[in-house]
């Protein structure tokens, strides 16, 4: 029943990710303390952290599997199941609420024909409500990947959805790449 080899058998990381993992483990004071960046490396590559990955990582970092599961289930950003291509996370906390988050959520629900917490059948969009994203002065806002889209209006939402469907996402408001 407790067979690590079998349970982690299917899991493998790319050479690049393995190298990043080794570098992180070397930098952190203990193997155990490298767990969070290690989970990010796995999730960044695979889109989520599969159970076989949990087994593999637990063995590699020499921590109990139960500990890894505690961490995966405690933090909202770690996902143990495959996600849709675009996970749209709309803030529904107080400042965004005051500035119209509910309307934006309603608009998204209508445009995507799903309710908050659901995903579209084509696997393209997942709609989630989240807590404060630190964009309170520029709300309503949503998070997509590493970036935020802020000062949302229904029109901006429509433009974003169209751009995502075309595979050419609108430039996020937090994109600083042009600054160098």
């Amino acid at each position: 029943m407790n067979d690590t080899a079998a349970a982690s058998g299917a899991f493998a990381l790319s050479a690049a990710s393995l190298a990043r993992l080794d570098a992180v483990v070397a930098r952190y004071p203990t193997r155990e303390s490298a767990l969070m960046p290690a989970l990010w490396i796995v999730q960044d590559e695979q889109g989520h952290i599969p159970p076989s990955g949990v087994v593999w990582l637990a063995a590699r970092l020499q921590v109990p599997e139960a500990r890894v599961w505690e961490v995966v289930t405690f933090y909202t950003m770690y996902r143990s199941e495959p996600q849709a291509k675009y996970v749209l996370q709309v803030c529904h906390n107080i400042s965004c609420h005051i500035m119209g988050a509910r309307g934006i959520i309603g608009h998204l629900e209508e445009r995507l024909a799903i309710r908050l917490g659901q995903a579209t059948a084509d696997g393209l969009f997942q709609l989630e409500g989240v807590e404060c994203l630190g964009s309170c002065g520029s709300g309503p806002c949503l998070q997509l990947g590493r970036h935020l889209y802020e000062n949302l209006t229904p029109a901006k939402v429509d433009a974003l959805l169209d751009s995502l469907r075309r595979g050419a996402p609108l430039r996020p408001d937090t994109d600083r790449s042009l600054e160098g």
Partner: protein
């Protein structure tokens, strides 16, 4: 003194190049570090910051120089951590610092690490600030290349490594022992105290945790001196504060003002008052975890620690949420109660169960299924949550809940069913009533 004179923390806000090392250095960056490493002992640095009266800007307001002094003198391994987990609703000032002025945070962290004799510094950035993790890492790399990090910094003999640690979505990691446990590779659940982190923290070693805004004030203090810093603010609240302002004012965003400025003046001049068609109803000044103030109450306050405390609230993180008259206060408290229920780490029973209970009662009220007795129940639940837990998240839920209930009771009462509308509680009894008549 104009607002431009107060740009201690916000000198590079809004610019497209202020994050670059070259720009930062050209504008005086890293001179404070030079002064600290070459001319001062760690004790002298601590004393300077203590004299300046800098207080923690994350929410607790504890004197920073005093906190730095809690590390035992004989400690061999010390850790320094920057709390960039900014997740307090209404607060986004640390985000702006990291976005526009990451080197201010980095330089302040190096000086602080020197002051507490830390050899490893972690910058804990909430996972949702993904783009900032990249940005700060770039700045850290610049600092390494310039010799401000690593071994024998500026030939001083002081070594410091800096690691940017990405969070993964948990407000409770903003509590300093929760942050420490998170970096240890565990759930970010706060630890029982004693022991206190300055004595036994990360990996059981002395650890100091400071907020981003706090640490970004350290280079200016070291560069211009404590006396210069004290020119701003009040006796008990020296210096400037970054206010994160949200809600329908004309100019939301991050504003830097001297502590002690009357809210009236700040509201009219800096914020431009309410946007068209909006009326001021109430303000939560310190991030959501503090008691709310009505419009009348806040208009009589100065924006500093002591004045706000006297008004029955707290300066907290300075996350100022401006609430317009059109807002339903019960709806807003439901939003907040959902937040605390969502974010409770779950360790302590009063918080774990109480946050959920508060949310469910408010939700029932709003659905028209609550009674007037539920208002007393809310108060009772708050009693079972306040001052009884490992960390203040439980209190953080109670303070808005209690103050909303006290100051806007009429809105809650209006939602309660009248007794004659209640009827029998069981579905069977209701059906019986319908059949028998």
């Amino acid at each position: 003194m104009t607002r431009d004179d107060c740009r201690i923390l916000s000198a590079r806000f809004g610019r497209s190049d202020g994050h670059r090392l070259a720009v930062y250095e050209a504008e005086g960056g890293y001179t404070a570090l030079r002064r600290a490493l070459k001319e001062m002992t760690p004790l002298a640095v601590r004393e300077e910051v203590k004299t300046a009266g800098l207080r923690g800007r994350g929410g607790a307001g504890f004197p920073t120089g005093v906190k730095w002094g809690f590390v035992p003198a004989e400690a061999q391994t010390v850790y320094f951590m920057v709390n960039a987990d900014e997740s307090e609703p209404g607060t986004f000032k640390d985000r702006w610092i990291m976005d526009y002025d990451p080197h201010a945070m980095i330089e302040g962290s190096i000086i602080a690490s020197y002051a507490v004799r830390a050899g490893l510094c972690f910058i804990y950035i909430r996972g949702e600030f993904g783009w900032l993790v990249d940005r700060v890492q770039t700045a850290v790399d610049e600092a390494y290349r310039a010799g401000y990090l690593g071994r024998n910094i500026l030939g001083s003999g002081f070594d410091l490594e800096m690691i940017v640690h990405k969070g993964a979505g948990a407000y409770i990691c903003g509590e300093e022992t929760g942050l420490i446990n998170s970096i240890e590779g565990r759930k970010g659940q706060p630890s029982i105290k004693p022991p206190f982190p300055a004595v036994q923290g990360f990996l059981k070693q002395p650890t100091i945790v400071n907020n981003v805004e706090t640490i970004a004030a350290v280079p200016p203090i070291l560069r211009e001196g404590a006396a210069a810093y004290r020119r701003f603010g009040t006796e008990k609240s020296p210096g400037t504060k970054l206010w994160s302002v949200s809600g329908p004012v004309r100019r939301p965003g991050v504003h830097e003002i001297p502590l002690g400025l009357p809210f009236r003046e700040f509201f009219a001049q800096d914020l431009g008052g309410m946007a068209d068609g909006e009326e001021l109803k109430a303000v939560i000044v310190g991030g959501s975890s503090v008691p709310i103030l009505t419009a009348d109450e806040i208009l009589a306050c100065n924006l500093d620690y002591e004045s706000l405390a006297a008004a029955g609230t707290m300066l907290g993180s300075g996350g100022m949420i401006v609430i317009p008259r059109r807002c339903d206060m019960v709806e807003l408290i439901q939003v907040l109660m959902h937040f605390y229920w969502d974010e409770s780490c779950g360790q302590c029973t009063p918080c774990r169960e109480g946050t959920g209970w508060l949310h469910r009662i408010v939700r029932r009220l709003r659905a028209g299924e609550g009674t007037i007795a539920d208002l007393d129940l809310l108060d009772k639940v708050c009693n079972g949550m306040m001052g009884l837990t490992i960390c203040p998240l439980s209190d953080a839920a109670v303070m808005p809940m209690r103050s909303f209930l006290t100051k806007f009771r009429n809105e809650f009462a209006a939602l309660a069913r009248r007794p004659e509308e209640s009827g029998p509680r069981s579905r069977w009894a209701r059906t019986t009533n319908e059949v028998i008549g």
